[in-house]
Symmetry: C2
Subunit: 222 residues, 2 copies
DNA sequence: GCAATAAACATACAATCTGTATGTAAATGA
DNA sequence: TCATTTACATACAGATTGTATGTTTATTGC
């Protein structure tokens, strides 16, 4: 099913015996602190994993392939991560962090609750338009780690914007009182679906219009 | 990681040599047409698979376990289905059909578009409250088969209600014109999230209230 | 009614994959 | 400097998937 012409997946390309490895700086770059080594292999693994998980999905990507791409061995992988899912978790954390950063950075002042929400939504769509993000965060993530853990990750990385926005709108009278948790949840789902559709080539304007209409229906521009 | 004290997973419990197998009716039940045999093993497989997929998820359920539960061999499985995913597909088709039937049966007259939608939503929640349905159709389904194929399945089994409802509302003037596809999609996502939350123990009334509020905002009761 | 064929499995096998156990070299701390 | 961690590298055990190949039971053409 999966052809793999590479016979030597179990060992890295050329044993970097530290004696022969010298940085282009001329200085002997082989003496690295443990922290440096760890950080470097960790990020190499996460980077390679991200690429492959995006390309072929979590289930279809094997650890031998990941370590080959990262130029390390499976020993390194299992030294840094409990298992394959744990590597995936780390990958998702970074991705969620990136999304949160993107949104936080792009957040601007808004005159009304409606405007704030609409801008937030657009910002979210922009952040999620980075290739692979939708697959990682909205497709494989929930399936592999479960919705509960995905919610945790979102919360850790600061995906509280929506809830806070709604709370503020309610407080300010723009939104009639209702169960905050539930409304946050279903709105978030709508945003996610829109992001997914857009990422898969659907007309972004249509989805943005639909989202905007939904928000207009909920929020009085008070 | 997964203990399995059964050593003989590769063959069924007791070779039903057809000579010794007699139905409790007294008559010799061993002469069965091919269609009967096929139907019987197919349904046994799907039934066992459904139970296990719900219990442990798609990825954590192996085909040896499935065939053991269904009292057949892996040979039978791979005779009837192309692969594990294909069995999963068949399972989901049945489940989607059941949901559609449930909803269709419960559909009643409604005075307004809003009422029709609200009732439809409640009906959907009721249908999705059957244990395991949410996991199959909303979690593992999209992850294993992809959203595209899930959409196909929904369409095959008649999950067009929502789109038609919106189309009707627009036509009747209760809903201002907008991209139908997009609106259908995000509303459907909101419904799904609500169903998922409810299935996982969240207060159903909260989610129903939130959904209703969303619909009220969109639909003028004209 | 019988031979030929096809359907419905049953069994064995090859290729992988995951996680663990164990061995080794490089860094770190006393 | 020496003991101890840390950071891997390698080997291995168990399990899984899909396929190839028998074997038995129904169908079908004559």
């Amino acid at each position: 099913m999966q052809e793999n012409s590479d016979k030597s997946l179990e060992r890295p390309a050329a044993k970097p015996s530290a004696k022969t490895l010298r940085g282009p700086t001329g200085g002997n770059a082989q003496r690295r602190s443990n922290k440096q080594r760890s950080e470097s292999t960790r990020s190499a693994l996460i980077s390679a994993a991200r690429r492959l998980f995006v390309e072929k999905g979590y289930a279809e990507t094997g650890t031998p392939e990941i370590v080959a791409a990262a130029q390390v061995t499976r020993g390194a992988l299992y030294h840094h991560f409990a298992d394959k899912a744990d590597l995936f978790r780390a990958t998702l954390r970074e991705e969620a962090r990136a999304v949160a950063d993107h949104i936080e950075q792009e957040t601007e002042e808004a005159r009304s609750a409606l405007e704030a929400m609409t801008r937030g939504a657009d910002s979210y769509f922009a952040a999620m338009s980075v290739p692979g993000r939708v697959r990682l965060l909205l497709l494989d993530g929930p399936a592999v780690l479960g919705h509960a853990e995905m919610a945790e990750i979102d919360q850790e990385t600061g995906g509280e914007e929506l809830r806070q926005g709604l709370a503020y709108a309610m407080e300010k009278g723009a939104l009639a009182p209702l169960p905050l948790e539930a409304m946050t949840s279903i709105l978030s789902a709508a945003f996610d679906r829109a992001a997914l559709a857009i990422a898969q080539g659907a007309p972004a304007e249509d989805y943005k219009a639909a989202i905007r209409r939904m928000l207009e229906g909920l929020l009085k521009r008070a």
